[in-house]
């Protein structure tokens, strides 16, 4: 494989590239889905290809191919150079890259049991068992269970002599159950967002899918009969199963420096966290709020050895004691704020250009109260569990989330169940209203595999750790009249 990459880099530099890098990527996937007693689908997937990124006359060009041959390496490198020259005609500011040490080495996700050697029928049996346990509950309309194993083997070569090899393995399994009425459907799911972890099959064995199934189904049925959450302003305690997406949408995305500079404006949007706010120490949230981009969190889907520019994995504080302190950045964007790359450039496979992507964006736990203590400390509020829907504006200010399950808190105890619970707010006001962050006892890592960005579209695997937190005076029950 290295010969192919070297040939592409040689061709690119001979044709005038001042910098070039090549990624050779091989992906393997296994999926199994069961629903209502049936195996809905089992899929093995494999793709292989390479992408060549070149800098010519201060502009980028990128081309890729799934045909692995020397002549194709030449053709793709030449195409990338031709594309870069076309871009240079309409480029006003030449690309400047921050320095980095020459990258070299190998990284592998720690795996105890290789998911690609576990017979698929074992997994199907496990899924069918959990599905049957859900379907056995009266009132359930559909029950489903899914499994996904993902492995990416990646070589990175650059014209400065950098060469890294990485093997990233992610696995996930989860349940979903629905109870349908005439005009409404209620859903419960477990674990959050497909139950992913950077790990081997040992993670799947650790998930108590069958054990959780009956309760999950009973909750879906109970929700269908529960009242809709009335509109109002309430105190919220967010479980990590909802808090992870609040972090993703209202902290992860707005701290992407390419968004801040407008290069995602045509699709994903821009950001309210403009760079003047970094200098001013903008009050993003209350002083309890510490948010960190950590590409080394064990088990996180945003954990790796080097990003797709050959920058080593890092831990970057984004918000410290409520103040904006950093961004997710690349070699091209970081120099514009006087910093070095934070190592956040990743591509969705061989045929996509690296973009700034979240790593593991974590809300750091605080010593003091557990999540149970926070609930006990809340006189009147709502406890919100498991994300169901999400939406946020293009600058990441106005958000609205829906959750699967809401319980009222009265006098520190959980009570009334509500369906169709939503809440809405403005990002810095919301994080500014945070008056309690739980300690590490309830800390959970959630993997997200559908983080969309870029044109053509790219889905990315990212992670979010949090332990739960409390927010005051939040608008809830939007649209429930």
């Amino acid at each position: 494989m290295s010969d192919l990459a070297r040939r592409a880099l040689d061709t690119a530099t001979q044709l005038g590239a001042s910098y070039a890098d090549a990624r050779i990527v091989r992906r393997q996937e296994r999926r199994a889905d069961v629903k209502t007693g049936r195996v809905e689908g089992v899929h093995l997937g494999e793709t292989e290809g390479f992408g060549v990124r070149v800098l010519v006359d201060g502009a980028w060009g990128f081309a890729s191919s799934g045909r692995m041959s020397g002549p194709e390496a030449d053709r793709v490198a030449e195409r990338a150079v031709r594309i870069a020259r076309a871009s240079a005609r309409h480029r006003r500011r030449p690309v400047q890259l921050s320095e980095r040490p020459r990258a070299s080495g190998r990284y592998e996700t720690p795996v105890e049991e290789d998911p690609f050697t576990v017979p698929i029928d074992h997994t199907i049996d496990r899924l069918l068992g959990a599905e049957r346990a859900m379907a056995a509950v009266d009132g359930v309309t559909t029950a489903s269970a899914g499994y996904h194993a993902f492995r990416e083997e990646k070589e990175f070569h650059a014209s400065d002599g950098s060469h890294t090899e990485q093997v990233i393995t992610h696995v996930g399994a989860g349940l979903e159950v629905n109870a349908a009425g005439t005009d409404d459907v209620q859903r419960r799911s477990y674990p959050e967002s497909g139950g992913y972890r950077a790990a081997g099959y040992e993670h799947i064995r650790s998930l108590d899918l069958v054990g959780r199934a009956p309760t999950l189904a009973e909750e879906a049925v109970a929700l269908l009969a529960a009242p809709a959450l009335p509109p109002g302003r309430r105190t919220l305690v967010l479980h990590p199963s909802q808090l992870y997406l609040q972090i993703h949408e209202s902290c992860g995305h707005p701290t992407e420096l390419d968004r801040v500079f407008g290069t995602e404006a045509a699709y994903a949007g821009t950001s309210f966290l403009t760079t003047d706010k970094l200098e001013a120490g903008f009050a993003y949230g209350s002083e309890l709020v510490n948010l960190t981009a950590d590409a080394g969190t064990p088990g996180g889907l945003g954990t790796f050895g080097w990003d797709d520019e050959g920058v080593a994995a890092q831990r970057v504080p984004l918000v410290s004691e409520g103040r904006l302190t950093g961004y997710l950045s690349s070699r091209e964007t970081a120099p514009r704020i006087g910093r070095s790359s934070g190592g956040a450039m990743r591509a969705d496979g061989w045929n996509r250009l690296p973009l700034i992507r979240m790593t593991n964006i974590n809300l750091e736990p605080r010593k003091g109260m557990s999540l149970d203590d926070i609930i006990a400390d809340t006189e009147d509020g709502l406890f919100l569990v498991s994300n169901r829907s999400w939406s946020i504006d293009d600058r990441r200010l106005n958000f609205q989330f829906g959750v699967e399950l809401a319980r009222e808190i009265k006098g520190g105890r959980l009570g009334q169940l509500y369906r169709n619970a939503t809440y809405t707010g403005i990002t810095p006001e919301f994080w500014g209203s945070c008056d309690a962050v739980a300690d590490a006892r309830s800390w959970q890592l959630v993997g997200v595999t559908n983080c969309g960005k870029g044109q053509p579209g790219q889905g990315m695997h990212v992670g979010h750790g949090s332990s739960g937190a409390r927010f005051r005076d939040v608008e809830v029950g939007v649209g429930n009249r």
Binding site: H43, F62, N398, P456
Partner: protein, 452 residues
């Protein structure tokens, strides 16, 4: 340039099916996608990303009695196809028997659609895309704005072969230009166009349309959240059609009791008719689906009443009907999708829809919408790139963006005008190309404000 790949893709598919049968399959199906695409992005009035890719992907569905396995790869030499057949066979044989499975679909009469592919799109080079981007950027510069957007060209040959006699191949192309502009005074604007043939795109016109909106949006006023009559431009109507297509008129959603659909149920104004039409020349036509079944025009909403739903072979078997030709590539947990949605035009010029508003809002498009309650199609999202106050039939002021939380069926029931003009717009990246008019809606629920 002649249409690409058809012979090669079909040959790969035939070889894959043959190898599956050699490996013991009782039935087999291969789908081959040969694609070549390129995309030029611009931001802040300059090109910043410019990418291209070429690939051939093979997906093999292996049937062993009532056991099914699917394997896919992007290598297609004989050794790789043999390995693919073995992989698919292995996973099929490890499964329990699936009593729901009857058969892969048999051949249907596929009539090639006119104008699914254009050589001009397939051969567009980086210079052509850069020139198109420059034309859009010129529009922004004319009003002192910054342009952001893309020019995209795709050419793909889809070949489907199965052991029951399906053996079809079709070249399809798509060219797409879109821009978001941001101007002085905080204004932003949008315009977009999709066509099979890049020659049919008009980048200067797209630039001017977005620039005019951007200039008009400067110094927007703030309006309180609340219920307003609205005119939804085509870009916004796309979102209504998309969610109805995914949540409502998908046979799997109906079979799983997650859809509002019931035959004859009235859910919209009599002015609203929606279909899925792979032959609509204003969209991006296709004559068959990813099972190789001929696409039938399916009437989804007929004068406000639910008519039919789209099927693939699995949902069709469950319902005891024939597939309508709307399968996605296997395995597919989402069910059949209408990838060629088309809302019928009305008789009123778009400007007269606005002229008929006593006091309301003109909405250009929606951003980041998501479903709050699927069965009633309650959706939330933001307005973006053009929100205007209309008073006495005239646009009187730009308005800061609002969040909405709206039952889309209720909105369609409140439609009192449909424009004569229709546009082909991108179905949010995953629902093909959607052809839609503008709509005037008696009441639309805005539930929040933002700073811009």
């Amino acid at each position: 340039m002649s249409e690409p790949g058809a012979a090669e893709g079909r040959d790969i598919a035939r070889r894959a099916v043959s190898m599956a049968l050699d490996a013991g399959a009782t039935q087999a199906e291969a789908v081959v996608l040969e694609s070549s695409s390129a995309l030029t992005r611009f931001a802040n009035n300059e090109l910043h990303q410019n990418v291209a890719q070429t690939d051939t992907a093979v997906s093999l569905r292996f049937v062993a009695g009532q056991r099914i396995g699917v394997a896919s790869a992007n290598r297609h030499d004989d050794a790789s196809l043999r390995r693919l057949a073995r992989s698919a066979a292995d996973i099929a044989r490890l499964q329990p028997e699936q009593d729901w499975f009857r058969s892969l679909p048999g051949p249907t009469e596929v009539t090639p659609v006119e104008g699914a592919w254009a050589s001009t799109t397939a051969t567009a080079d980086p210079g052509r895309r850069a020139d198109a981007a420059a034309a859009v950027i010129a529009g922004a510069e004319g009003v002192g704005a910054q342009a952001f957007g893309l020019v995209e060209t795709e050419s793909e040959t889809v070949s489907v072969v199965n052991s029951l006699g399906i053996d079809v191949s079709e070249a399809r192309s798509r060219a797409h230009v879109l821009t978001v502009m941001m101007g002085p005074g905080g204004g932003s604007g949008y315009a977009e166009e999709v066509a099979v043939d890049i020659e049919r795109l008009d980048p200067p016109a797209i630039g001017h349309e977005a620039a005019a909106r951007t200039a008009a949006m400067a110094d927007a006023i703030e309006l309180p959240a609340g219920d307003y009559p609205v005119v939804l431009d085509s870009y916004a109507v796309m979102d209504l059609a998309m969610w109805l297509g995914v949540l409502g008129f998908n046979a799997q959603a109906v079979q799983e009791e997650q859809s509002f659909y019931a035959p004859g149920k009235i859910v919209a104004s009599p002015l609203v008719s929606l279909s899925d039409d792979g032959g609509d020349p204003q969209g991006t036509p296709a004559s068959f689906d990813y099972e190789g079944v001929a696409k039938r025009r399916v009437s989804l909403l007929e004068a406000g009443a639910c008519a039919e739903v789209v099927h693939d072979s699995k949902t069709a078997d469950r319902a005891g009907v024939g597939s309508t030709g709307h399968a996605l590539p296997a395995p597919n947990p989402w069910g059949p999708f209408p990838l060629n949605l088309s809302m019928a035009a009305g008789e009123t010029p778009r400007d007269e829809l606005i002229g008929g508003l006593e006091r309301g809002l003109l909405v250009t498009r929606f951003h980041y919408t998501n479903v709050v309650q699927p069965k009633s199609v309650v959706v939330t999202g933001m307005t973006k790139d053009g929100l205007f106050l209309v008073e006495h039939g005239r646009v009187t002021a730009p308005v800061r963006n609002l969040r909405f939380t709206q039952d889309y069926l209720a909105a369609l029931a409140a439609v009192d005008g449909v424009s004569r003009e229709r546009r082909a717009v991108d179905g949010d990246g995953y629902l093909g190309t959607i052809v839609v008019p503008a709509l005037r809606v008696g009441s639309f629920s805005f539930t929040g404000t933002t700073e811009h």
